[in-house]
Symmetry: D2
Subunit: 355 residues, 4 copies
């Protein structure tokens, strides 16, 4: 029987913080033990949190006091989940890692440090060994592991098995993303009522950059070399949905490729988390649906078990001999953030990086 | 000085009908003379119309009585605008054409009759000569001219000049469409609150079919043969915007193609309506914008002059040597329906088909 | 130990039907045994249902086949839940009652039959004795019990304890209701995007009529006579919220009345379901909140346990010596429909009307 | 012929600033001559403005350069319109007034200075004489005139004629307000998607406070004493509408009062702006509608001429002998802000305070 690990959630009242609180309240061995916040220190979590997710504030955390983001107060904490915002996250995460904490970060600040994993446990689990290098090079007792941008995961999770199994050439993505991805207060209401908000070149570019790294690390076997180069493009938007990033992807191939076989590969995709039966691993990382009006954000974003951990893929269709269209839907704050972070932690526990 | 033409608007209280009423109220020589409706016959237009567009009900039509769709009552009518729904439109339009009326239809029922033009005046004006064949073959005194599906026009209008000027290979389209395209009552609210509604395979297919015909008729010179075959795909959706279809298109080419040159071709595109200075022809059929957060539905759908007649194209960007991304926004009930219909009528007047 | 009762849900794929399916899947002794539908007969529930509520389709009902609304097929069914639409409900419910089934109806058709209870179990439980009269007069083996319009319950549940404890004079209500109250397809999207839809005189009137009956049956003791007459008004609207009716009520009194005491009465209100510890009875039928930005529809509609069974009341405030303002929020398809129906069934079981 | 006045618009790129720019571009004698902004100084107005209103940026202002809020640059400016935000407005407006500028302010900072008019030109035009006192007491060459909170105007404009003509006792108001009233970025989207946002006690209180002052200044004749005291309450909310504040008001009376007569008084209400035929005065300050599903925000907010200057009142109905219900809709950034400010300026010109 595994010993219980005590987790601190930084930014615990934020939109990803609440998903950590919700999911860890039901976790078999990682407990929410420390809720760090900013404006609300000293108050009961339940009183200050904006519970923009399913259900009600769990009793496990409801009356916990929100505390400062201060490692000196975290003596008995075993690991840190950090969904802090860009810029704020970087130095804080470094400080915790230096002091010996394992830090699972959903923030962009360290995503492209060459010795920091950008981990999607089903796709590039072998990258956890970067941690050894990271600790040595930086002379840290702890370490930082990052998870990718939710938008990048929504496309990359279905693209990875395609990339690994077919001679993929490129992917042209259009996203229709939800509001929760931008935090609170986040997107002004006047930007999304009777409107579509384009996220612009910088957001498009970072989406592509992250997908590119994830795919370059996707292997069929641990020692495989990186595979072919691909040409990616993303056009990103937000509209007035609360949770769930919806992404339309046209995938091109270097040779004739059959949509039926692509569909099969997607449906049968499993990764190390499934083999290891990690508690937060959904049975299927990708659920394929066949009705031509699905996935729909409202009805499918909580798919899988735990809810929200499976990416739903639909509309898999031959465009021409070398082009296939698919649509994917990811719960951005679950699989795309907190759930992905917890799954990463479980993998690290399994591999002995967190004890 | 051109004589005034009297127009009947069928379905005058519908979402396209109101745009006809609005635009014709300000037209230099086509007057709204007969407003045909169904449930509201005998009542003043103003009282029964749901004015889901800009401004207020124009005084020119406000107190006009809604009348039945009956050619016997239309003795002094010179032409018919028919935005009737699919199925209902077909036989009614035939009856009017047989009786000698020129019918401009926004309905799908006759769009693929081989002797009926599917007219976008800037792109395939030469197809009006199908009317001669139509009248002869059917032994009609009048005729039917159709305009394409709004969604198809939103992509086809910018694709046409690209197709005519570059060795285009294919186009992969994702649409985010507004509610007014589906009429009233149209889309149930529970389909689009906190949701995205996929329109499904049939809608995708008809979009492609219409774009294919339009491009195949796009020529640089009237006598040019049809150009290359292209591979098209569309993934169509509706969300909770009121007017304006937003479409992201990845265009692929058979040879290296420069986004800057594509942008230039789009910006400089003019058609016969511009040369003829037709009253409803916008100065530029395509307005190119360069900010990376435009076009936006709320702010750009009424672009051009008359408002809503220009398609706004933005985000024109090189993806790779042979792929370019662009975004287009069309006011679906104006350029994509009533405005397109009026422009078609003006072209037909100019060419002597309506007298 | 109570024996298990088998329930049929009529209109099981509708917006109230799904709440019955969800709640009964977790019920200690009432099981969802028969799912009746219309267009989807013969198909697995999961495949045809539009699951516009919390969570996913429960495994208890997911693969059940949808069947016709035919009593001959319901031999082993013990009770009927009928959220059928107005008009359709009436004759069907009568037929079932005649055949011996207890029918719990959320439909308006029999709400004002003088021998049919309009039951809110916390407020007028004594009206169940109308069943004896109903069965005798109509010579039925079964019976019909109705629950009130969700909108009426949202105001009546907090008004009842006020009415019973203070010399209430009148109540002036303004509702801002959600879309699910109108079913699916229900409200056209173009009615509620950038708009507020007034529900009109007839809806206002039926809301008042039902509140009036409920209050007239509210007693402190079973044998109390009806209390004072009150003057009620309601102005009802729908907007683009999915679930949750929000109602602002100004209550006037015949004598000086203290808001603090009203608040106390609301908070301490309990009814027979609480005394009997019925499984679907929330600990508190009314949860009073004190923050001046609550209740909020998104955050508070699932309040209570079972979730959605408590009405949340806030903003209780003295306007002047004889006027108090309060705001109430009811989950319209749970407490206002399916949950209220199940609670009614439990009361009827407890009182021996269902065996 | 009146000489042309040159106006500066402070905060010209804000949501009220754009309405000033739009309306003054068509004004017969007040011209938009100076557009003051903050982050966008030095750029063409058209390029930096977020045109969240009807039509497109008018050519009269499109290419004007945005300039700093600096009186030294405003030598040829005749009057100042100040829709600056609370706190920022106060000192700036004082500085301008001290330097001799007439300042029309839509900001709350000076609304309750005893020598500053809180002007609704149809209701309390006699309060302009406070300007004389203001200039003398403060030894200013210029002066400040304020207009009330949009929310307060939406209720006060119809309440004033009722107050003046009947023995009004109280008014219990529930507002459902639009997003533009809170400026940009303003309300976070996550507060209003599938939600209703209560504005809280402070907002309720300031609404009442302003209505109270306006009513206390409403007279049938200039020299009438203030009339009866009234008891007011407001419960204020925002939802996802873009423009238009919708308000439900229950009005109580000290004696039996007939709804038909109240309706008549509302319909026939005219004020000094109508008598003086001020250019921005709508023919009817209040337009009464009788359909039981009107007013609707989307369809009625631009009512009147100039569009948006009339308050639309509907649902006027007897609740009981001494209570009447009505609903009012005000275009918050037009009649409730910029349009009200321009009308105030016209009155001040007419009365010789601006020359």
């Amino acid at each position: 029987m595994r010993r219980t690990l005590k987790a601190a959630i930084l930014g615990a009242t934020g939109l990803v913080g609440i998903e950590y609180a919700r999911m860890l309240s039901q976790h078999p061995y990682i407990k929410p033990a420390y809720l760090a916040g900013k404006g609300s220190v000293g108050k009961p979590y339940e009183e200050v949190v904006r519970w923009q997710t399913a259900g009600q504030v769990p009793k496990e955390v409801a009356s916990m006091e929100v505390k400062p983001t201060d490692p000196k107060l975290m003596d008995d904490v075993d690991l840190i989940f950090s969904p802090l915002p860009q810029g704020a996250a970087g130095p804080v995460e470094e400080e915790f890692a230096k002091l010996g904490f394992p830090v699972i970060s959903n923030s962009p600040d360290h995503r492209f440090d060459p010795d920091v994993p950008l981990l999607v446990p089903e796709i590039n689990p072998h990258t956890v060994k970067l941690i050894d290098e990271q600790k040595k090079r930086r002379d840290w007792k702890g370490f930082i592991v990052t998870t990718p941008l939710c938008t990048a995961q929504g496309a990359a999770i279905p693209l990875a098995p395609i990339y690994m199994n077919f001679k993929m050439n490129g992917a042209f993505i259009t996203t229709i993303q939800s509001l929760s991805g931008a935090g609170y207060p986040g997107i002004p209401s006047l930007d999304v009522v009777d409107n579509i908000l384009p996220l612009g070149d910088a957001y498009d570019a970072k989406t592509i950059k992250e997908i590119t790294r994830i795919l370059s690390e996707a292997r069929r076997a641990v020692n495989d070399p990186p595979m072919q180069e691909v040409s990616l493009a993303a056009t990103t938007h937000r509209i007035a949905t609360i949770h769930g990033h919806y992404e339309v992807t046209y995938v091109t191939f270097k040779e004739d490729t059959d949509a039926g076989k692509v569909r099969e590969v997607l449906e049968n995709f499993r990764g190390e988390p499934q083999e290891l039966k990690l508690p937060t691993a959904p049975e299927k990382p990708i659920i394929v649906v066949d009705q031509d009006n699905r996935p729909q954000v409202y009805f499918d974003r909580w798919s899988g078990n735990p809810p929200g951990m499976s990416v739903v893929v639909g509309r898999v269709k031959q465009v021409n001999a070398r082009t296939i269209r698919m649509v994917s839907l990811i719960h951005n704050t679950v699989r795309g953030a907190a759930g992905g972070g917890i799954l990463a932690a479980e993998l690290l526990v399994e591999k002995g990086y967190i004890e």
